[in-house]
């Protein structure tokens, strides 16, 4: 690769540093941009609060107050999931609407370094949702928030954000080809919420849900956060969340490259 003037080739070390810089700046930019979007914040914070409220009332009505922290943590992770899903669904579409998709695809910077920070930023924004859900549970429903393993908790939360953000990257990568694919992402909200055990113990679900749950980072992420907060062994779950995230990154990069080439070949980038 050559530098901006086209004179001198960039070595692998500088190239790697350049990629890290592009990724970091992209992440920072998108987090700031999404923070300014009232629409995005409302959507990613409000719905998880409402679902959490319903779940709180259901568990209270069932006289299981001991389950409320369990539900509260699950609802908090749902907030990250909701934000990621909505954001990753829109990641490509927003660029298409703004007329920047073609420019980004034709830039010499690998497209993966443009889209991955955006999907990761959407899950970072989920922190607002996580905080507001836990706060809502504490203030409105009096759910005590005790963390048994603080260090593990502080690792589990970013690990979950990373895993979910990269899962969103897989979704976003497939959306290059389809104009309305972001609507499909809306459809995935309830199914993933169900099978990953965010609000329902996995042991209660039918057998077919198990293998699907194991392939999804939110399953391990919510387990890591719960075991760190309530007590248990959070580290294997946090490790699994990160490992799955890396697998998603590889899958997403391959898909993105493949679909990008297909869209270029058929001249459908902005028309599909």
């Amino acid at each position: 690769m050559r530098n901006g003037t086209g004179d001198r080739p960039i070595g692998p070390v500088r190239l790697r540093a350049h990629h890290v810089r592009v990724f970091a700046i992209g992440l920072r930019f998108h987090v700031k941009a999404l923070t300014h979007s009232v629409f995005f914040l409302l959507t990613s914070v409000f719905m998880p609060l409402l679902v959490a409220t319903v779940a709180y009332y259901m568990y209270k009505a069932g006289n299981q107050p001991g389950s409320l922290l369990y539900v509260s943590l699950g609802a908090a992770v749902y907030g990250i999931w909701s934000s990621t899903l909505f954001g990753s669904g829109g990641a490509i579409q927003w660029q298409r609407w703004q007329g920047t998709l073609e420019v980004l695809v034709s830039a010499p910077t690998p497209f993966v370094l443009v889209i991955a920070p955006l999907t990761l930023a959407t899950s970072v924004i989920g922190i607002y949702s996580l905080a507001s859900t836990l706060l809502w549970g504490r203030l409105v429903f009096g759910i005590p928030f005790h963390v048994v393993h603080w260090v593990a908790f502080l690792v589990a939360v970013p690990a979950t954000i990373l895993g979910l953000g990269l899962l969103g990257f897989v979704f976003a990568s497939t959306f290059v080809l389809y104009r309305n694919a972001n609507a499909l992402s809306n459809m995935l909200e309830w199914p993933v919420l169900l099978v990953t055990g965010m609000l329902v113990p996995l042991s209660l679900l039918p057998g077919w849900a198990g293998p699907i749950a194991w392939l999804l980072a939110p399953t391990w992420g919510v387990q890591a956060i719960r075991e760190a907060a309530i007590g248990g062994t959070p580290w294997p779950d946090a490790g699994m969340t990160i490992a799955l995230g890396l697998v998603y990154l590889a899958i997403g990069a391959v898909c993105l490259r493949h679909f990008e080439l297909a869209a270029r070949r058929h001249a459908t980038l902005s028309l599909t």
Binding site: T43, V51, Y57, M58, N180, W190
Partner: protein, 261 residues
């Protein structure tokens, strides 16, 4: 005659325009897959919490999902005109306003009816609830009235959509409020008093209650009051929505604010 044509043909064309925005290959699965998983989610939460029967959640969520087509589509059929820059042209026509706006609600009601019915039948079959055959026509009628009531609320959100640009957020908020307040998943007796009081003025509340009683074997006559209340709530929301649209139309002509929101 022209009013009838405007009501039926105009409404149908407006509904078809929704598919210009969203491919049927995406829209239809959204109406089919999402409600089933919403039902399954709350059925399993209910089992985990040890509260209420599966039937309670199947009926509550199937009917509540009528809010998606009824509120979202109704909002988009009117507020979407502004996004397409056609609202000014629509309001500049001398067409009578009642058939113009209400005609758009008819396909939405039918859509909401089919979505909720599908969710009720398939969701019920998946979790294995049994409803007396004699109750089915009554429940179908309740679903239709509930879809009407939700569409009335949708007309109001469409009117608000003329003031605020972000109709998707607005519709999501309305959907969420209906999920919490109407007793779809939490019995009104388990909600705080102020919430169950608000629920009385919302669509779905009385319809869901009527459908549950019918499924439990109550006679159609015994739930007549609930059905009438549901229809009345829908009518009132529809009137609020229609009146607001007319006021905003009038205001927009005076202040030239139609495209500004």
């Amino acid at each position: 005659m022209s009013s009838a044509r405007l009501f039926f043909v105009g409404g149908l064309l407006s509904y078809r325009a929704l598919f210009g925005w969203l491919s049927p290959w995406i829209l239809i699965p959204t109406y089919v897959v999402a409600p089933i998983f919403q039902i399954l989610l709350f059925v399993y939460i209910g089992r985990s919490a040890g509260v209420q029967s599966d039937e309670f959640y199947v009926i509550g969520n199937a009917l509540q999902y009528a809010a998606i087509p009824c509120v979202f589509a109704m909002t988009n059929t009117i507020a979407g005109e502004r996004d397409q820059n056609t609202l000014g042209a629509v309001l500049a026509t001398p067409a009578r306003r009642i058939p113009l706006f209400l005609g758009r609600s008819l396909p939405v009601i039918v859509n909401g009816f089919f979505v909720a019915s599908f969710a009720f039948i398939v969701g019920g079959a998946l979790v294995g609830i049994s409803v007396p055959t004699s109750a089915v026509p009554g429940i179908a009628f309740v679903i239709l009235v509930t879809a009407f009531a939700c569409t009335g609320l949708g007309l109001t959100t469409a009117a608000v959509g003329l003031l605020a640009r972000d109709t998707a957020t607005l519709s999501n908020i309305v959907f969420g409020i209906l999920l919490v307040f109407t007793g779809a998943n939490v019995a009104l007796s388990d909600l705080p008093g102020w919430m169950s009081t608000i629920a009385q003025g919302l669509p779905l509340t009385h319809g869901i209650e009527a459908a549950r009683r019918l499924a439990d074997g109550a006679s159609f006559a015994s739930v007549g009051g609930l059905i009438a209340a549901e229809a009345l709530v829908g009518l009132l929301w529809g009137l609020v929505g229609y009146s607001t649209i007319r006021v905003l139309e009038w205001q927009s002509r005076i202040h030239a604010t139609l495209e500004r929101a």
